[in-house]
């Protein structure tokens, strides 16, 4: 179905209001839009890793989830949902389940890039018919902004503080989308939804309705961790894409497609300067950090262009 904002807006919310996520948080926006891509008649089994999303949407005895939902631990969402999907396959064969059920797992970058990486990799390799969505806010936000392997280089976090000798996180960000593409699964995509809701919706729909495993890596800014002015969320998300810090692309059966190429690729500092976690990069004498980050963004973008046959 071609994307129609009015039609999509009319669909019922499957993550209801009343949850406790922060104002200006990207994660619930991402979740709601992804769940809208489900066909209304399809049942969904949704799983979440421990994290902000889980502890804010299902506080006993209240749940914000209108579909079935399971949380078991931090590092095992990929495995938990794959067990549910396996049970579904049997029940379907035995005629114990009418209609279709879809399996969607959510994890933050800590639960996905780091502690849940093994369970995710295993689930993808085994070929379960499921979607794993990483809402990537680039640190362990639920526990108070600790660095993860998704944290960009030089970011100031509570376990990679910008100190007098060490200027923030010293390692570059892991490229999980690429790693998932190298699992040779049918569908992998990366998106930054705020300002690109159509892109997220279409990718979610493809991910959910492509048979087999699919992975979505979704940039989900965190006002607490990134330290931006909450109303700047749209601008920030736009800058992530316009600077090619976070390109919008998909890998369908191994074929790379870049969904958006900025007419003028903006310098990465336009994305960084909106965030308090990179404030120290703009002090006199620290220009080398900006230069280094720019080089890395350029190099990753060039690689992506090559993979997509556009270089």
């Amino acid at each position: 179905m071609a994307y129609n904002l009015k039609e999509v807006a009319k669909k019922p919310e499957r993550l209801t209001g009343g949850h406790r996520m922060c104002a200006g948080c990207g994660a619930p926006v991402v979740v709601r839009q992804i769940l809208k891509a489900l066909k209304p008649e399809d049942h969904a089994v949704i799983s979440s890793a421990t994290g902000c999303l889980e502890v804010s949407t299902f506080i006993y005895p209240y749940t914000a989830w209108t579909d079935s939902f399971i949380h078991s631990a931090f590092e095992n969402t990929g495995a938990t949902i794959s067990g549910a999907e396996a049970a579904y396959n049997v029940m379907k064969r035995k005629g114990k389940f009418e209609g279709e059920a879809k399996f969607i797992a959510f994890g933050g970058d800590g639960g996905t890039y780091d502690i849940g990486f093994q369970a995710l990799s295993g689930a993808m390799e085994r070929g379960h018919d499921m979607v794993y969505v990483c809402y990537d806010n680039g640190a362990y936000m639920n526990t108070g902004i600790q660095r993860s392997s998704a944290t960009p280089k030089y970011a100031d976090t509570t376990t990679s503080p910008a100190g007098k000798k060490i200027p923030g996180k010293m390692q570059p960000r892991k490229d999980l989308t690429e790693i998932m593409a190298n699992h040779h699964i049918p569908y992998v995509a990366q998106t930054a939804p705020i300002g690109n809701m159509k892109d997220l919706y279409e990718k979610a729909e493809k991910a959910i309705y492509t048979p087999g495993p699919a992975f979505l890596n979704v940039l989900a800014p965190c006002p607490r961790g990134w330290r931006y002015n909450t109303p700047d969320l749209m601008e920030l998300s736009k800058m992530a894409v316009e600077t090619c810090f976070w390109p919008l692309y998909e890998v369908i059966d191994g074929k790379y497609i870049i969904n958006y190429k900025p007419k003028t690729k903006l310098p990465v500092k336009d994305f960084l300067k909106l965030q308090g976690r990179f404030k120290h990069l703009f002090k006199a004498g620290n220009e080398y950090m900006l230069e280094e980050i720019q080089k890395e963004v350029d190099s990753r973008w060039e690689t992506l262009l090559k993979l997509a046959g556009e270089a």
Partner: protein, 394 residues
């Protein structure tokens, strides 16, 4: 007509699983339990079961997939040993507190380190407070029979707890013994169909599982979980009685061997009970009044029944195939003595031996050392050492 066979403990377990025909088996290879998923995957490959076999990338994921499968409304099973069980540790607690009656075949093996593939009970003893029902098996027949009873116990509405069926790695898992199998159709009828009241795949009534559960409700949920474990005792006895009617094989909370007129007894789990029975027969021929109590059900711990049964003896030796490293006694010993004390049983002198760690062979003369010590205590009324090691060089 029951089927006479010759099988290893692992084969017997796999055959029980085939007859149970669960919805999902999620497992990861680890010696000595590897054969269980290995045999089972051939049933899947040959289409003789309806099960989805999920060949997970770790034991943590095995238990996590079982949690997902069971919450979805399926019957989920797995098998593991030692470090595999330890790796599941976090998820074991989640399975129990989510009240998911998953069934696990635990093939007991020494926990690292140092790494050792042979039998002791340090793995399942480490999981004793995880909220799982634990049933121990002396031999292949018991491993098979206990497995057939596991779902009926765990899935009972008054229980709703996961169950682990334990047997000794290599000693029974790999040794071939004569065994009597129950016919497939009888197993099917006995185990019955799993119809959970709530599940993720009940689209008419979607549920959320695994909440953030804070000060207001967590404690009540834990209290309910504790009650479920207390309820399990009665259910285990009921299911065992029904199983007795089906097979003629009788099981209780523990087995007593030649205790009627015994002065002294050994308390021991799993296969060592077989060696102890052999020594008892030898000693009995010499007129020595020795006996055995072999706990079958360790969780729930049969406090009243064990305290009552042990109250009549002069001396008791509890043999632990796991150490607690508490400088005071092994896990079975501390639970037995706690049961005696709390029930006001102060008659028997009770001593403890840690034995057989890392698969150290336990021979009949080791058991003779224990009985000789017990008979001496019974005669003199004096205990020189409570916490002891058996069969170790020191």
């Amino acid at each position: 007509m029951a089927i006479r066979e010759r099988l290893s403990g692992n084969e017997a377990t796999a055959i029980a699983m085939k007859q149970i025909n669960p919805d999902v088996v999620a497992a990861f290879p680890i010696t000595p339990s590897t054969e269980v998923p290995q045999y089972f995957s051939t049933y899947v490959a040959d289409g003789v079961v309806d099960t989805e076999f999920v060949a997970v990338e770790s034991e943590h994921s095995a238990m996590s997939a079982c949690i997902g499968a069971q919450a979805a409304g399926g019957r989920a099973m797995t098998a593991t040993s030692a470090n595999g069980l330890a790796f599941m540790w976090e998820a074991l607690y989640i399975a129990a507190s989510s009240r998911l009656p998953i069934v696990l075949s635990a093939v007991n093996r020494a926990l690292s380190g140092p790494i050792n593939i042979h039998n002791d009970h340090s793995d399942t003893m480490g999981a004793r407070d995880s909220g799982w029902i634990q049933i121990y098996s002396e031999n292949n027949q018991e491993a098979y029979d206990n497995m057939l009873m596991a779902h009926r116990i765990g899935e009972h509405p008054d229980v709703m707890l996961p169950v682990m069926i334990c047997q000794d790695g290599f000693i029974t898992s790999h040794a071939i013994e004569n065994i009597e199998l129950v016919e497939d159709d009888k197993v099917k009828a006995f185990v019955g169909e799993y119809k959970p009241a709530h599940s993720l795949l009940n689209r008419e009534n979607p549920i959320s599982v695994g909440p953030l559960d804070l000060q207001l409700h967590y404690f009540e949920h834990k209290r309910q979980q504790a009650q479920a474990m207390a309820n399990a005792k009665k259910v285990i006895l009921e299911v065992s009685e029904e199983f007795y009617k089906l097979t003629g094989r009788k099981y209780g909370l523990f087995e007593e061997y030649k205790t009627d007129d015994a002065d002294v007894v050994i308390v021991v789990l799993n296969s060592t009970a077989g060696t102890v029975k052999y020594v008892i027969d030898q000693y009995r021929a010499e007129g020595k009044k020795v006996g055995l109590i072999k706990p079958r059900v360790f969780r729930p711990f049969p406090v009243d029944e064990l305290a009552d049964a042990l109250s009549k003896f002069k001396a008791v030796a509890v043999l632990d195939k796991a150490d607690s490293f508490n400088a005071a006694g092994g896990p079975l010993f501390t639970e037995i003595t706690s049961a005696l004390f709390s029930k006001g049983v102060f008659g028997p002198k009770v001593i403890n031996y840690i034995f057989g760690l890392g698969g150290r062979d336990v021979k009949s003369n080791d058991i003779e050392i224990v009985y000789d010590k017990l008979l001496e205590i019974a005669n003199t009324g004096k205990v020189d050492s409570v916490y002891n090691y058996l069969g170790v060089r020191e």
